[in-house]
C-alpha cells in the first residue's frame, strides 16, 4: 500500500513557471526534493535531502529575536548579533517562520499530489503549445522518487504536454527503461570522466549512469548532455576528451551544454546548516567559459554550447 502513497504525493521543492533554459520552448520546471548524489559543487543543496527542511536567509534577519521567543525546542539562539540555529532540533512546526517579520525563515519543501502539480503545470498549456515547451521535472534527482515522477509523466503525456527530465542518470536501469516512453527530452548530466573521479566528487560510481545513457540513446530519446564544469576539478583536457568521446559514441545527442560553476549554492548551504564547499572558488567568468567552448571545438566537439544551470 505504501507504493500507492508515494505515487500520489511528493515533496516539491519549487515550481518555476516560464523557464526558458531547461529544455525546448517555454517550460514549467518542477523540482523534487531528494538526491542520492552529493556533488561537491551542487547549486541546489536544499534539494539533496529528501525531507522538508528549515532554511534561513541571514541577510534578511533583523535579529529581532521573535523566532527565539516562539520556539520550544530552542532551535534559535540569538546572542551578540549572532543568530545560531540548531537545525537538528527542528521539528518543522513552522512557528518561527510565521513569527519572523522579515521573512528570513522558511520551510523548504511542500507535499503536493500529482493533481496539484498538474493544475499548476496546465496553467501555461497554451504557452507550451506555441513554443514547443512543456514540463521539466528536475530536482534533486527526479528519478529518486520514481513512482511519482512516472505518474506525473504519464499524466502529462495523456494531455499532450511535452516532457523533459533532468537527471544524473543514477537509477536502476530496469526502472529507467520503464520511464523512457514517457520522456520526450532527457537532460542528462555528464559530470566527470573516469569511475574513480565520479565516485570521489559525487559520491556514486558511474557504471549504471553510463549504461542508462546507452539505453536512452538506443531507444532514440532526444538527449541533451549537460556538463557542469568546475575549475580545478574537471576543466581538464582529460575530461573534455571524455565529453568528446561521449559525443562520438552517441551521435544522436541533440546537444551538449556546458554549465559553468557558480557560487550560489554556498549561501544556500549555510542556510540549511551544512558546510560550504569549494570555499575559495569564484563564479566562472563568461570569458573563461567561452575559452572552454573554444577548446572543445578545437578538440572536435561542435555540438557544445553554453547552458544556464
Amino acid at each position: 500500500m505504501s507504493f500507492v502513497k508515494i505515487t500520489e504525493k511528493a515533496i516539491i521543492f519549487d515550481i518555476q513557471r516560464s523557464s526558458l533554459y531547461d529544455g525546448p520552448g517555454i517550460r514549467t520546471t518542477v523540482f523534487l526534493k531528494g538526491c542520492p548524489l552529493n556533488c561537491l559543487w551542487c547549486h541546489n543543496p536544499e534539494a539533496t535531502d529528501g525531507n522538508r527542511q528549515l532554511s534561513f536567509h541571514i541577510e534578511k534577519c533583523t535579529f529581532c529575536g521573535k523566532c527565539e521567543d516562539v520556539c520550544v525546542n530552542r532551535v534559535h539562539q540569538l546572542t551578540d548579533g549572532i543568530h545560531a540555529i540548531d537545525f537538528s532540533q527542528c521539528l518543522l512546526c513552522g512557528k518561527c517562520v510565521n513569527a519572523c517579520p522579515s521573512s528570513a525563515l522558511k520551510i523548504v519543501g511542500k507535499w503536493m499530489t500529482v493533481d496539484e502539480v498538474m493544475q499548476e503545470v496546465l496553467a501555461d498549456y497554451d504557452f507550451y503549445l506555441n513554443s514547443g515547451g512543456g514540463i521539466t521535472i528536475s530536482g534533486g534527482e527526479p528519478l529518486w522518487n520514481l513512482p511519482f515522477t512516472l505518474e506525473l509523466l504519464k499524466r502529462c503525456k495523456l494531455v499532450g504536454v511535452n516532457t523533459c527530465v533532468e537527471t544524473s542518470g543514477f537509477v536502476s536501469s530496469l526502472r529507467f527503461i520503464e520511464m523512457l516512453p514517457y520522456i520526450d527530452v532527457l537532460l542528462f548530466d555528464y559530470k566527470m570522466t573516469g569511475s574513480a573521479e565520479y565516485l570521489k566528487y559525487t559520491g556514486v560510481s558511474n557504471e549504471v549512469i553510463l549504461n542508462n545513457l546507452e539505453i536512452a540513446h538506443s531507444q532514440e530519446v532526444s538527449i541533451i548532455l549537460r556538463c557542469p564544469v568546475i575549475p580545478g576539478i574537471n576543466d581538464t583536457d582529460q575530461h573534455f576528451e571524455g565529453i568528446l568521446a561521449i559525443d562520438r559514441k552517441f551521435p544522436n545527442l541533440k546537444g551538449i551544454e556546458l554549465l559553468p560553476y557558480h557560487r550560489m549554492g554556498n549561501s544556500k548551504r549555510l542556510g540549511i546548516g551544512i558546510e560550504e564547499t569549494l570555499v575559495s572558488l569564484e563564479t566562472v567568468p563568461v570569458e573563461l567559459s567561452i575559452k572552454w567552448i573554444e577548446r572543445l571545438n578545437e578538440l572536435g566537439c561542435s555540438k557544445v554550447k553554453l547552458g544556464v544551470g
Binding site: 513557471r17 526558458l20 517555454i26 521573512s103 504557452f127 503549445l129 513554443s131
Partner: protein, 753 residues
C-alpha cells in the same frame, strides 16, 4: 542684459479677441488665428528639411499644443506672465496692458468658462477652496479635472487629396449653399479665413527659406532650402503631388491646428512615398533624410506624451504601399537614434506582413522603446463593443497620448479627468475622511469596523467610486458644451467627419462621435488592498479591522507582523484566482459604471482608461499606507500592471493575469513588460512564442522595455554614463537619469524577466 519679455503678440491676440467679442465665434476664432500665426511660428533651424516650429505665446488659442502644459482652447498662462511681471523686463509701454490682459483672461479663458459653469454638485468636489490654489502635484484629491482637448487625429487623407486650394473650393461651395438657404454660413467664412492664415504661414516660411538660402554658404544647404521654398509655394497653390509636399503640408497643418498626434502616416503618406520611389522622383536615402527631419521636429515638441505615429493594422485602403512606408518608419527609428517622440505605435493582426512585427521586435531588442504593440485582433472587436460603433469604424481606432482610444477623424474623446482609485479606498476605510488632512473627501459610508462582511465593504467602496465617476462624467460633458459655445475649433472642424456636412463646429454638434475618457490610477493597488482585507480581516480573521487601521495610520511601524501578513496576501499578477477575481470585479465595476454614464449625459461614450504616466507616482504621494502593504506616499502600480515586485510567479503567470480584466468595456489599458537583453538576443524564438501566446489569449497591448537591472542600478550611481538609456513609464518614454528618484526606484522595483 536680461532678455526683454515682449508681449506684443499676446497683446495683439487679446485685442483681437476683445474687438471681436460679439462677432460670430468662427469669425472671432479665425481673426485670433491671424493674430497668432505666423507670429508664433519660429525659425527654420540649421538642418531642418521641413518648415514648422512653434514658440507659442503665453496667451493664445489651441486645443492641446502650447507651452508649459496643455492648452485648452483660449488659454492664458498666468504663471508665466506673472513671472515676467516680477522679472520687470516688460517694455514700459506694455506694462499696463499686460496687467489688464491678465485680468481680462481670468474670466475669459476656455477653462474659466467651464469652471464658471460648474454645477453645485461639482463645486465641492472639483473646486475645493482650501486646496484649489495648490499646483496639481500637491492636491490630495480623489477626482481631478483635466483641461485639454487631447487626441486630435485629423483626416489627413482628405487634406492631402484636396490640398489647401481644394479645401477652399469645397468650403466655399458649401458656404454658398448654406448662405442661399439662410443658414449659419459664418462658420465657413471663418474656415476660409483660417485657411488664408495657413497660406500666409506657408508664404512666411517660403520667404524665410529663400532668405536663408541666400545667406547659406554650403551649396548642398542652399539647394535644400530652395527646394523647401518651392515645396511651400506649391502647398499654397495646389494639392501635394510629391512625398515631400505631402509631408510638409501634413506637418505644418498638424502644428498650426494645435494637435500633438500624427495618426496613420503609413496610409496618408504611403502612396506618395511609393510613387516617388518607384518613379525615381526620390531616393530611399533622400526619403530617410526627410523622415529624420520630421522625427526631429516631432521630438522637438518637447512633450513626454502624445506624438503618436501609427503604422500597420486593419482598415488601411492601400495596405501594400502603407506597409512599405511603415518599414521606412521602422528604419527611421533605427537610424535616427533614441528619441522621446514620436511614440511610434504598431498595430498588427494575424495575416499582416510579418516583416513589420519582426522588425519592430528587433528594434525593441536593440533597446528602443518603440514601437508600442497593439493587437488589432483583440482591440477592433473590443472597441466596437466598448465604444459601441460599427466594426468598420472600430478599425480606425487610434490610441492617443498615453493610450486612450479614439476614432480617426470621426470620434473625439479627450481624457478630462483623473480618478485616484486608491485614494478613494483610503477614505472608504475611514467613513470618507482623508487621513492626511482630517477633512471629508468622500461620502460617509462607515468605518471598516462597521462592516459585517467583505461584500458590504466592497459595496461601500463602489458607492464612493460611482459618486466621483458621475461628477467627472458631467464635467467632461460640460467641457465640450462650454468649448463648443466659445469656439468652433476651425482647423479641426475642417478635417473631422461630419462637421462640414452638418455645418457645425466639432464640439457644437459637428463631429460624428463625441466621447470621453476617465484616467483611473491605482486600481491594481486598490484591488490588492481589497484582497488583503478580504483575506486577513474577513476570511482568515488574522487581523481585526481596528488593528488594520492602526497599522495603516502608523505606516506599519510597530506592526511588522501585520505588514508581513498583508504583503504575503495574494496579489494580482500571479495567475492566482483569489487576487485576480477581485481585480476583475473592481475592473468590471469601474468600467461598466463609467460606460453607463452615456445614459446620463450626451456623450457617445465615456470610458475608463488604465493608462499610466507619472501620475501613478504623483497621485500616490497623497495616499496613506494601504492594506496591500504599500507604504504611505509611495507610488501606485502602473496601468494594468502589478505593483513592483508583486509578480513573483514568472512571466507566463503575469501574462495569464493580464488577460483576465476584460478589454471590451474600456478605452485602453497599458501593459508594461520588461525583458532582459539576453532574452531578446538569445531566446528570440521563445520570446516570440511568449508574446504570440499572450496576444492569442486576448492580450490587447504591450509596451516592452529591454533593459538590464544592472544598467538601472549603475545609472543611479553614475548617471552621466547613462544619458542614452530610455525607459518606458507606460504611457511614454523618458530618459531614465532625468526622472525623479522615486520614479527611478519604482521602475527599478518592477521585475525584469
Amino acid at each position: 542684459m536680461q532678455k526683454i519679455d515682449n508681449f506684443s503678440m499676446e497683446l495683439n491676440f487679446t485685442e483681437t479677441y476683445r474687438k471681436n467679442i460679439n462677432e460670430h465665434i468662427a469669425i472671432r476664432e479665425a481673426r485670433c488665428h491671424k493674430a497668432q500665426f505666423p507670429a508664433v511660428l519660429s525659425e527654420i533651424q540649421e538642418n531642418d528639411r521641413l518648415a514648422g516650429r512653434t514658440f507659442w505665446g503665453w496667451v493664445g488659442f489651441s486645443p492641446h499644443n502650447a507651452p508649459g502644459g496643455a492648452a485648452f482652447g483660449y488659454f492664458c498662462h498666468e504663471l508665466k506672465i506673472i513671472e515676467a511681471i516680477e522679472r520687470g523686463n516688460i517694455p514700459v509701454e506694455q506694462r499696463d496692458a499686460v496687467h489688464e490682459m491678465l485680468h481680462f483672461w481670468k474670466k475669459e479663458t476656455s477653462k474659466a468658462k467651464v469652471e464658471s459653469a460648474f454645477t453645485d454638485k461639482m463645486i465641492p468636489v472639483l473646486f475645493r477652496d482650501e486646496i484649489v490654489s495648490l499646483p496639481y502635484n500637491f492636491k490630495p484629491l480623489i477626482a481631478n479635472p483635466i483641461y485639454r482637448m487631447a487626441g486630435v487625429f485629423l483626416d489627413y487623407e482628405k487634406l492631402l487629396r484636396l490640398g489647401i486650394p481644394g479645401l477652399i473650393e469645397e468650403i466655399t461651395e458649401k458656404m454658398n449653399v448654406v448662405k442661399a438657404s439662410g443658414g449659419d454660413y459664418q462658420l465657413f467664412e471663418g474656415m476660409l479665413i483660417a485657411l488664408d492664415v495657413f497660406i500666409d504661414s506657408c508664404k512666411y516660411y517660403e520667404k524665410q527659406a529663400i532668405e536663408k538660402a541666400k545667406a547659406a554658404s554650403n551649396p548642398q544647404r542652399v539647394k535644400e532650402l530652395l527646394q523647401l521654398a518651392e515645396v511651400l509655394k506649391k502647398n499654397t497653390i495646389s494639392k501635394p503631388e510629391s512625398f515631400y509636399e505631402a509631408l510638409q503640408l501634413s506637418w505644418l497643418y498638424t502644428l498650426m491646428c494645435g494637435s500633438l498626434e500624427l495618426g496613420r502616416v503609413d496610409v496618408y503618406l504611403g502612396d506618395f512615398y511609393v510613387h516617388d520611389i518607384d518613379n525615381y522622383v526620390i531616393t530611399e536615402e533622400e526619403a530617410l533624410s526627410l523622415m529624420h527631419s520630421y522625427w526631429k521636429l516631432i521630438n522637438d515638441l518637447f512633450r513626454d506624451v502624445d506624438g503618436r505615429v501609427i503604422i500597420g493594422g486593419r482598415g488601411r485602403r492601400n495596405e501594400a504601399n502603407a506597409d512599405r512606408f511603415a518599414l521606412l518608419v521602422l528604419n527611421t527609428i533605427k537610424t535616427y537614434g533614441k528619441a522621446i517622440l514620436p511614440q511610434t505605435t504598431l498595430r498588427f493582426y494575424e495575416g499582416m506582413n510579418p516583416l513589420l512585427f519582426e522588425k519592430s521586435l528587433d528594434l525593441i531588442g536593440e533597446g528602443h522603446t518603440f514601437p508600442l504593440l497593439y493587437n488589432d485582433d483583440v482591440l477592433i472587436p473590443s472597441v466596437a463593443q466598448a465604444h459601441d460603433v460599427p466594426i468598420e469604424d472600430a478599425e480606425q481606432y487610434m490610441p492617443l497620448g498615453c493610450g486612450e482610444i479614439v476614432l480617426d477623424h470621426m470620434g473625439f474623446g479627450t481624457p478630462s479627468g483623473s480618478l485616484n482609485v486608491l485614494k478613494a479606498l483610503d477614505v472608504t476605510l475611514r467613513d470618507g475622511i482623508d487621513p492626511i488632512t482630517g477633512k471629508r473627501l468622500g461620502l460617509p459610508t462607515g468605518h471598516l469596523r462597521d462592516f459585517k462582511t467583505f461584500d458590504e465593504f466592497f459595496a461601500a467602496f463602489k458607492k464612493q467610486l460611482a459618486f466621483f465617476i458621475e461628477i467627472l462624467a458631467d464635467h467632461e460633458e460640460l467641457e465640450y458644451v462650454e468649448s463648443g459655445k466659445q469656439a468652433p475649433y476651425l482647423y479641426l472642424s475642417m478635417l473631422y467627419d461630419d462637421c462640414i456636412a452638418r455645418g457645425k463646429g466639432i464640439f457644437s454638434g459637428g463631429i460624428r462621435y463625441l466621447g470621453g475618457s476617465l484616467e483611473s490610477f491605482g486600481s491594481v493597488n486598490a484591488a490588492d488592498s481589497l484582497t488583503a482585507i478580504k483575506k486577513m480581516v474577513f476570511d482568515d480573521k488574522l487581523i481585526s479591522a481596528d488593528q488594520l487601521i492602526e497599522a495603516l495610520n502608523n505606516n506599519f511601524n510597530g506592526y511588522e507582523k501585520e505588514y508581513k501578513l498583508l504583503k504575503e496576501s495574494p496579489k494580482y499578477g500571479n495567475d492566482d484566482a483569489y487576487a485576480d477575481n477581485i481585480m476583475v470585479e473592481l475592473h468590471d465595476f469601474m468600467c461598466n459604471t463609467m460606460r453607463d454614464q452615456r445614459e446620463r449625459t450626451n456623450l457617445d461614450w465615456y470610458l475608463n482608461v488604465l493608462i499610466n504616466n507619472k501620475q501613478n507616482t504623483i497621485l500616490g504621494r497623497w495616499v496613506g499606507a494601504t492594506p496591500d502593504g504599500r507604504k504611505a506616499g509611495r507610488e501606485m502600480a502602473n496601468g494594468n500592471t502589478p505593483a513592483g515586485g508583486n509578480d513573483k510567479n514568472g512571466i507566463t503567470a503575469l501574462l495569464n493575469s493580464l488577460v483576465k480584466p476584460s478589454p471590451d468595456i474600456h478605452a485602453g489599458a497599458v501593459q508594461n513588460l520588461r525583458f532582459g537583453k539576453d532574452v531578446f538576443a538569445c531566446e528570440r524564438d521563445k520570446l516570440n512564442a511568449l508574446l504570440n501566446t499572450y496576444f492569442k489569449k486576448g492580450g490587447a497591448q504591450a509596451m516592452i522595455t529591454v533593459i538590464n537591472r544592472g544598467d538601472l542600478e549603475k545609472a543611479l550611481v553614475e548617471p552621466e554614463k547613462y544619458q542614452d538609456m530610455f525607459v518606458r513609464i507606460g504611457g511614454f518614454s523618458a530618459r531614465y537619469i532625468d526622472l525623479p528618484r522615486d520614479v527611478q526606484m519604482e521602475i527599478l522595483s518592477r521585475v525584469t524577466y
